[in-house]
Point group: none
């Protein structure tokens, strides 16, 4: 086996890699649902055993929530350390009835594996695990030090990881020492399109809210009381419904103060991507696209802030009519933020908005996430060049540079706590249905991702050498 | 027995009347729950047997749903016919745990009987049954013709009664012929307060809507798509949240066109009721009352139109955060209408509002009820005078004239189909917990109601005579 090339090893082991991916996908590690706490931990144990098996030093780090899976190869003198991050928890699979095959019974159709967590993030994170395994099996040792950090609370706020960074519970070796690295790598996003691998050099930030409005002390009959007592459902609609105007612009005072327009260079880069608005419209199935006036769809998705309501709950929701004036109404919503917007300042402005708009007779309770700032990396940095070369080798094509409208909170954690940048190398596709029924991941890209991960180890070693002299 | 006065007969039979009321209350005639279909029919049979027993001609009229119980005394030449309506079905008793004593085991505490259906409507409807029985037992025959119509689907939409009016199934004698009368009487509402009997001379109308908004063809990740695709939950809040302005006024064009201000007389009548806004506020448990500017709470409840959202449903509603841009959002809502507002015109205006406010990329589907017009009876009409005199005799006090903010669909059915007015003579109290746990009805008012019902037969005969000359 020592004389086998890495590429050949990966080809020869592709079905075993798939089998192992399927094993992990069968574990319903729905971290956001308390009923699946044990299953979520089972996914951590699976990874822990896997790291041990491929020869890495590994441990389960207990936190206030789900454990972190940590693994590392030995340091390599004069070579950099890369920190590879992923997560083993998945989104809830609801609505279950819309899945063609059950979410935790991985099934292959048209070269894709369908399962909750296929692309987000089990499939993508395993490319690096199998990449390191392939490198070790064929060459015996890695050219750089690799550290893995796999968490189980990515979909639910990452409290355990944050506590780990605060050294809770107290440990001999601090999180910062243990995770010390020169660059981070995360594969938890998408290519630009099929056969168009990409490096994501920017992310939107965000801040998430839950608000509960209460009015009367019980549900009232809307005939006897309607019009004389404030209705929390009416109030909720009025407060949230006035946040965005008919031109798609957010009306909260000061919201856009720090938002900058794109440079000409960035605008040209976006235009080069040859994005089809019609194709996008057809794919999302809306009869028309709509967003902030004066901006293209790609700008709206990647470079402009946005406001979305994620959930509304109030009153009678079953079949038939019930004339109730509900005692309570609640909503979940969030703002996506762009570079220079400060999540804390946005939170204060939103709370102020709630205070201003809340009608007499209604009281509100609001909870919000800590918030995440947006992230942008220069496309000409040495790490970006290394990643581009690895993708060229693994996928057979130069990557394009894109941004993503999503947030990866851990990226700002790495920026703030470890003072390192993050390479976002996504192997997924935009139509992978992450967070939706029928999530999928291309098995072809799964294999190319494994190859690219191997090449990245070499490329990072080279780039680092050059940068030293 | 022939020499016994009616009043004495009622006194002497009070415990038997209570026993018979308890018999009917023990039947769990939960018409809205398919599990209680047989029990509901058992209540109809009980009434059918009772009418036969007191000497009325009676029949069970089969419908598409629960049977109607019909009964009548012989016509009286030169005297009017009164149609007394009631219902034998009751609301579901949930939540069961909040009942002090079981809902279908009637229990006396502090002079009240506690049971589901005590006030709504078994206790109130039986006052008229026992009133007629008492009259017949003491005087041998009635001074006017009485018809009873007792339905079993009042709490579930009254489909059977509506079908009966459409002559489905086809019968030799049409509903209109069978129910022909000069005036209707319903005791299915409340007094103004304890020791303050009232005639309800007005009801609000209403029209009920369900709207479903759809956007993308599936739930999307709000990070990747937010800001570029219209969000149905955002749109729902924006459309419904702008219906009422900050002054509590409905913004739909033309909505108030037919709404008339109260006359000075009516305003004075309202003021005389000595309504306590503070007590009302404490009772509903809101920290402040709120409604249309320029109107008192009583005006807002009884005489002004209103808009209430009854239910909101969209996206992720369980614990924790989910960053979904939902494919769908829905709401149930209604408008309460006042005299002269046309439900059909309001429906058209609301649909037009939805069309105008629906943002690009969102489609809507709306369903609405047929709608019910508001109802107001002049307080100086001859029937009102008769009812006032009967209440004076039965309760020992002049009634006050009140309105109710609710709707009683059967009142507009009688107006439209039989061309007759309805006297709403309620013996209940506002704190009777109808539709809530621990429903109750005062046994004292039960007896006064029986007396009043007897007096009403005489008063209607007198009034009618006078009006003939």
């Amino acid at each position: 086996m020592a004389s086998e090339t890495i590429e050949a090893f990966i080809e020869n082991n592709q079905f075993r890699f798939q089998d192992e991916l399927f094993e992990l996908l069968r574990i319903p590690s729905i971290g956001t649902d308390p009923a699946y706490v044990t299953d979520t931990r089972r996914a951590a144990s699976w990874l822990h055993a896997k790291f041990k098996c491929i020869g890495l030093q590994t441990e389960l780090i207990e936190t206030c929530g789900q454990p972190l899976v940590f693994a590392q190869s030995p340091p390599v003198a004069g070579a950099p350390t890369v920190l590879i991050y992923g997560h083993y928890d998945v989104q809830p699979p609801d609505p279950l009835g819309e899945w063609t095959t059950p979410p935790f019974e991985p099934t292959i159709r048209d070269g894709n594996v369908y399962a909750r967590g296929a692309t987000d993030n089990k499939g993508q994170l395993l490319t690096h695990v199998f990449g390191v395994e392939s490198y070790l099996q064929t060459k015996g040792k890695l050219p750089i030090q690799v550290k893995f950090l796999i968490e189980g609370e990515e979909e639910s706020g990452g409290a355990g990881l944050k506590a780990f960074f605060r050294n809770e519970p107290l440990r001999a070796e601090s999180a910062k020492e243990k995770l010390r690295a020169d660059i981070a790598v995360i594969s938890d996003c998408s290519q630009y399109a099929s056969e168009k691998p990409a490096i994501t050099h920017g992310l939107r930030g965000g801040v998430y809210f839950e608000v509960i409005l209460t009015g009367p002390n019980r549900d009232l009959h809307s005939g006897y009381f309607g019009g004389s007592v404030s209705n929390p459902a009416n109030a909720l609609c009025s407060i949230l419904g006035s946040i965005v105007d008919q031109g798609g612009r957010i009306q909260i005072p000061g919201f856009y103060d720090e938002v900058q327009e794109l440079s000409n260079d960035e605008q040209v880069q976006l235009q080069k991507l040859d994005f089809s608005e019609n194709q996008f419209r057809d794919e999302v199935g809306a009869n028309e696209l709509f967003g902030e006036k004066g901006y293209s769809t790609l700008q709206r998705r990647w470079c402009r802030p946005s406001f979305d309501i994620h959930g509304l709950t109030s009153g009678y929701q079953d079949a038939g009519a019930k004339t109730v004036l509900p005692a309570l109404a609640s909503a979940k919503f969030s703002f996506r933020l762009v570079p220079h917007q400060n999540p804390q300042k946005i939170k204060e402005a939103v709370v102020h908005w709630l205070e201003e708009k809340c009608p007499p007779g209604i009281q509100f309770e609001v909870n919000s996430s800590a918030g995440v700032a947006a992230f942008v990396l220069e496309t000409n940095s040495k790490y970006m060049q290394a990643a581009a070369a690895a993708i060229q080798a693994g996928f057979g094509r130069r990557p394009v540079y894109i941004r993503s409208g999503g947030s990866i909170p851990v990226v700002s954690l790495f920026t703030n706590e470890l003072q390192i940048d993050t390479l976002l190398l996504g192997w997924g596709q935009d139509d992978d249905n992450l967070h939706s029924p029928n999530e999928k991941f291309s098995l072809n890209d799964f294999q190319k991702g494994i190859k690219t991960s191997c090449h990245l180890l070499d490329e990072l070693a080279v780039v680092f050498d050059v940068s030293q002299y």
